[in-house]
Amino acid sequence: MRPTAAAALLAGLAVAALLAQQLWSVGALALALLCVCLRAGRRARPYLWGTLFSAGFVFLLSPLLQSTGWHVLWSGPDVPVLGQLDVTTEELRIAALNALRLAAVGLAFAAYALLLDHDRLIAASTGRRSVLAAALATRLVPTLERDASGLVEALRGRGLAPAGLKGHAALLSPLLAGSLERGINLAEAMEARGFGRAGRTRLPSPPWRAVDYAAVAGAAVAIVVGALWL
């Protein structure tokens, strides 16, 4: 399948998850996207952890910040500014729905980052500069992961394995500095290779196949069904 068509399908499924109102339908979409992500194997781990953490955060926190529903499951203390903390069945349902929506969007992005051929996506795009920037930003996650492992390994080689949250947080600044340096070097190499020059051409791409048309149609159908019936 062409990456453009695959990207359209992933975007369609993410939008459908945002529009759908039923727990089961959003859950099914998230599950389908999870299965797609698992095809990437171990590379999917940081994305899955990130998605799980953010969706779990939304599920746990949002019931405490809402005041919706009548079926109270738990009554907590009165907190200044926030008022009384309580959890109702309705709040739990809304929290679960929002958490699943967030998970579906996160998993759609993970599938895009992990499984699509970004080079062909760039080649097919009319806005090459912005798509190239997006593709390079997408590669930032695995690059940062590799750089972080390298920093930790270098410290271990000095007998200084970073410990705890504070130890790992101390690596953020050098990680960022390293990324900026890499970005400057890459920009220099791109300039030297003619990037930004007028009159560029593009590598011919293969013609669209039935599966590509089906994926784009599937994206449109997912959005409509998500908005009207799910």
Partner: protein, 449 residues
Amino acid sequence: MALATVEELTFSYPGSAPALDRVSLEIEPGEVVLVLGPSGSGKSTLVRALAGLVPWFHGGRFAGRVEVAGRDTRRARPSELAGAVATVFQDPEDQIVLAQVEAEVAFGLENVGTPPSVILPRVHCALEAVGAAHLAGRRVTELSGGELQRVCLASALALEPRLLLLDEPTSQLDPAGAEAFLERAVASGAAVVVSEQRPATALRLADRVLFLDRGRIVLDAPRDEAVAWLDEHRPAWTASPSTTALQGAVGEVVTRVAGARFAYGGGPEVLGGASLELRRGEVVALTGPNGSGKTTLAKIAAGLLEAQGGTVERTGRAAFLLQDPGRYLVRETALDEVALGARRDRAARALAEVGLAWAERAHPRDLSSGERERLALATVLVTEPDLLVLDEPTRGVDPERKAELAGLLRAQAARRATLVVTHDVTFAGEVADREVSLGAEREAIAVVA
């Protein structure tokens, strides 16, 4: 008519002393020019000036004139020179733009407006020329450093440039790979300007040699004349691998690896039963072609990786210096960086030992690549380990500094067992008591005394 002309070029990076000082030269079509010089002598700046990146990309004070393929680089942007000029930089990971090899090699061709119908044939022809046709469909993240460097050369050759600029392009290649790389570059027929810190092969292929020191050209001569000058004035640059046995007194076994096996993440086996014994007082060079598992074996010896088969015995503390000195830049000053693992007075002494006493207050990221390598070395030396493992410690380091490094390791040899993973045969000859060569078959180890 000259392909490139540099007239009285003086250039300073913002807030710095001149990196190039009244440099003048001409490069003829098809000429192969080798640029030598110590770290920080202006080699990379000269290469960047010929690509137009100085002053366009870096800013700074620029005086004089550089003309390449009939265009003044003060008026033509580097992107406009691309095609006539192609550049391969030192670190392949910092110049790869796209995710797939074929698209990566096509990137430059697309930018310079090559007709679509000829892009793919030229991509495949360039990959073929560097012996990387089999990599066409691969993702760049799956490639080794050596393979990435070949892809970078293919990207440059695909442009069919008239001037090919190579800035220490073989730093990650074994000697055979480096030789093949440079031979392919020269065979392209373009004028080649190559800056190198392992000059033996490049010296053989060059028509002419420039030697830079503190931004000035101190030698510009045909190859044979240049070799004679180097022999007399800078002998470290023409030193042959030593065959003298250095064996000093050796003590107890510090590390013994027997029959180690290892595979990364369920992939093919990288080590299939390798053995290694390291004794206090000896310096051992671990050599072998790219992909033979040298780094993996060294990490197992130092305890950074756990062998999946075989046995590892180690006494005392081990320290490991990674290939990439960028991994050692986590503090704001060089002294703080080294003091992360020790008292400040010991850290200052370690910095002095590697010739960086002047850089105590410098930000580690302001140091050149060779200086970063020495800073990284100080960060492991300061821990005073019983086993010191250095993975490619001479990458980006000039021959004179390499000789100093070899001297330092020899002087401290009695304190510990030292394992040096290296492609640099000259350095291995200077520093090691014995050489352990890991063969391409990744199992058998031949020990050369």
